[in-house]
Amino acid sequence: MAKPRLATCSLAGCFGCHMSLLDMDERLLELIDLVDLDKSPLDDKKCFDQPVDIGLVEGGCSNEHNVHVLKQFRKNCRILVSVGACAINGGVPSMRNLVGLRECLEEAYLNGPTVEDGGTMPNDEDLPLLLDRVYPSHEIVKIDYFLPGCPPSANAIWETIKALASGREPALSYRLRKYD
């Protein structure tokens, strides 16, 4: 029987959740035995070309590209997991939600103390437009499971993947359930 396929992505996050995944040490070998890695920054695979069983989403949605990637993941992954504080509530990037996008951009690029010569609003076509605020992933697509933490510990990630790959409901023990 084919191994379950695993995809990951990092949206508006810091890659800390991915680092934590790598932090599972020798269990990485078990992980490779357990799942096949599909589209992920870890293998640099760019596109989905077959159905994936488990998708791990790190980071919230801060710009239109994040939304696009997240929707792709939802479309291609049977189970989608919101991983880490940023995917769950926007995390550190969501601090801008308390200010408002216009004020935020103007302060950064036009009015801030470090702006010279009146400043300019970055407007290259390659830069995705920012959303009015940072959205948690579950406010953009249907999310099946949440794995909290900043980052979730390697143990928590391992337990979650292990459960999902063997068709069980992930259930974190008290020690592994952390919001920070």
């Binding site: 760019k46 596109c47 239109e64 590209h65 939304v67 696009h68 792709q72 308390l98 200010v99 408002g100 996008l101 216009r102 951009l105 103007e106 609003m121 407007n123 076509e125 390659d126 995705p128 437009l129 920012l130 959303l131 009015d132 605020r133 959205y135 406010e139 953009i140 697509v141 249907k142």
Partner: protein
């Protein structure tokens, strides 16, 4: 905002003038430097300066010898007190499903266009502020508004234009009106009139009797026998909850205390209700008769009427009624010549908070605090106003008490049903030919009522206001009675073409605005209910959203602290139950739909950065 500027934001040098502090001290002294009279003190300040500034809060606190934070806590709670100065004329339009179907939105636009003030703001010249407010108790003559606290009714867009023109031409306020007196410039408007619309006077409340008859009839009875008569008559509270009045009095009477208090709840805030307004306009003496009888039964020497702020225009006439009663020996010392029977009544004006209709919140408000309900036990009958045994009864209940004394409990109980004796005043409004007051015996069916009011084509009826239920035609055979469809008197009728969900949404908005904030499930829950319903209303909901909304609604109902939160989900729950097809018709056939579209989420960036989103087609 983050960090900075707390001082600058809150400091208010304009109102820190020493002469104002002297005046404020004089106001505080007028109310005996009594902290429990904070409602009156703050109302007087609001009246005099058109706002209650931070400096005024400090001055009041200093004069009372309390902390400013305690005054702020109370002032910031009530809708009718404002920190900022409003326009010279402050127009507050009643926003209810009924006012909107009678054209309130067009009237609001006309006010806005004529005054130059966008709705929710003041006009640039500072002359007018146009705002929406919760139902002001004029459902039979909507669209209506309060202008500087005075009621104007049956407004059309052309009325709005002529009112703005007349007020613009009115003299500037050289001398602000005396506290509790209406603004004469507004009172002079032809629209400043309130009709009573008694469409059907029944056999109990509106019969003509001599003032004081009930009081005199009760003099022959011992206090216990009075209570026994009320119990025998099976009178139940007319505010809607239906607690047996006699039993409440019995508990109150036997509670030990230095004094017993009596409170008449005239904070008629349930949208769609206006029967207490009409009762206090057309038959105030029968209400005061009832209070005086209750005082006799409870041994209470002080009675308080908590009159909702929206009815401030009644204050002066009610004072005259009280004066007359004192003159006639029906109030004051030795009432009706009866040695030791001393009782008097004070009227306390509210300040725009629906929750104060809840008896323990009302008591808090009477004590000069924010209107947050209390936890029970202790019940007010044990420890109520000033921690003394207190009976709080509805205006109409007191009227019934007087009639029971005049005609006997058997006579009273001969009307209505076994469990709901007597008659009920119904305030009927909405899509019907004859809106107004109907006194009907309990047990009347919805259909029978709809025939009387001229609403044969009604498609749904909101019974007992937002906290009651939305009744579908299949249930029009049900009876209006405590044991079936209970109501405090609000009956809103909706005819063909009206949208059940729009109505439920307005009612949910009402609860969001009126939640006191004390407990988490109601404070946060009401806002979340609004979000959930809004999503469905905007055709972005799924079946999962409906399920989640229902679960949330049930949690709010179960976990909230007082009746407000426990009924705040009723507009949603009762429409879900009675009109599931209306929800289904709006749902999208997907598992998940986000609350916002990508276009909406990008709108700000498109504006700020001046370009369109990048087209990201799926790479093959």
């Amino acid at each position: 905002m983050m960090g900075t500027g707390a001082r600058e934001l809150r400091e208010d040098p304009a109102a820190a003038r020493p002469e104002d502090a002297v005046l404020i001290d004089r106001i505080v002294a007028e109310f005996g430097r009594d902290r429990t009279r904070l409602m009156d003190i703050v109302q007087a300040v609001q009246h005099r300066w058109g706002r209650v500034s931070a400096a005024s809060v400090r001055a009041i606190a200093q004069s009372l010898g309390i902390h400013a934070v305690e005054v702020e806590d109370m002032v910031s709670f009530y809708s009718f007190f404002s920190r900022e100065r409003k326009g010279r004329f402050h127009v507050r339009l009643s926003k209810t499903p009924v006012s909107l179907m009678k054209g309130a939105a067009k009237v609001a636009q006309a006010f806005a266009a004529a005054s130059g003030a966008a709705i929710g703001t003041a006009s640039p010249d500072g002359e007018f502020t146009i705002e929406w407010t919760s139902d002001i108790g004029m459902a039979d003559q909507e669209p209506s508004a309060l202008i500087n606290g005075t009621v104007v009714t049956a407004l059309s867009p052309s009325d709005a234009r002529s009112i703005i023109a007349a007020l613009r031409a009115a003299p500037a306020d050289v001398d602000p009106p005396v506290f509790r007196a209406p603004d004469p410039r507004v009172a002079a408007l032809p629209q400043a009139r309130v009709a009573s619309h008694i469409m059907k006077a029944g056999p109990i409340i509106f019969q003509r009797r001599r003032r004081g008859d009930g009081v005199r009839a009760a003099l022959g009875l011992s206090p216990e026998s009075i209570i026994q008569e009320i119990i025998k008559a099976k009178l139940r509270g007319r505010g809607g909850a239906g607690f047996p009045t006699g039993l409440k009095w019995k508990f109150c009477r036997k509670s030990p205390g230095q004094q017993h208090y009596l409170i008449c709840n005239a904070d008629e805030g349930e949208p769609g209700t206006f029967k207490d307004r009409v009762l206090l306009t057309e038959a105030p003496d029968v209400v005061f008769d009832g209070m005086t009888i209750a005082a006799n039964a409870l041994g209470a020497q002080s009675g308080l009427v908590y009159l909702r702020g929206e009815y401030a225009y009644l204050w002066k006439t009610l004072q005259t009624v009280l004066e007359n009663r004192r003159r006639l020996g029906l109030l004051g010392s030795n009432i009706c010549g009866c040695e030791g029977f001393d009782f008097d009544v004070r009227i306390q004006l509210g300040a725009g908070a629906y929750v104060c209709g809840e008896e323990s919140a009302l008591i808090e408000s009477l004590e000069g605090k924010r209107g947050a309900p209390r936890d029970r036990p202790p019940f007010p009958t044990e420890r109520g106003y000033l921690q003394q045994p207190t009976a709080v009864d509805n205006v109409e209940s007191f009227a019934c008490v007087a009639r029971i004394m005049e005609n006997g409990s058997d006579w009273f109980a001969s009307f209505g049903t076994r469990e709901s004796t007597g008659t009920k005043l119904l305030s009927v409004s909405g899509d019907c030919a004859h809106p107004g007051i109907y006194e009907v015996p309990f047990g009347i069916t919805v259909n029978e009522l709809l025939d009387q009011v001229g609403a044969a084509d009604a498609e749904f009826v909101q019974m007992a206001g937002p906290s009651g239920q939305c009744v579908a035609p299949k249930d029009f055979g049900r009876r209006i009675a405590y044991e079936d469809l209970a109501t405090g008197g609000s009956v809103m009728v909706f005819g063909p073409g009206r949208d059940v969900l729009e109505v439920a949404s307005l009612f949910t908005e009402f609860f969001i605005h009126e939640s006191c904030g004390w407990c988490a499930p109601c404070r946060v829950g009401t806002t979340l209910l609004g979000r959930g319903l809004d999503k469905i209303l905007k055709h972005r909901g799924t079946l999962e959203d409906v399920t989640a909304l229902e679960e949330l609604a049930n949690t709010v109902t179960r976990m909230s602290r007082c009746g407000l939160g426990q009924t705040a989900a009723n507009p949603i729950l009762t429409t879900m139950r009675n009109f599931p097809q209306v929800y289904e018709a709006r749902l999208l056939p997907y598992q998940f739909v986000p609350a916002v579209t990508l276009e909406e989420a990008l709108a700000v960036a498109v504006k700020v950065q001046g370009r369109e989103p990048v087209d990201e087609t799926e790479p093959v």
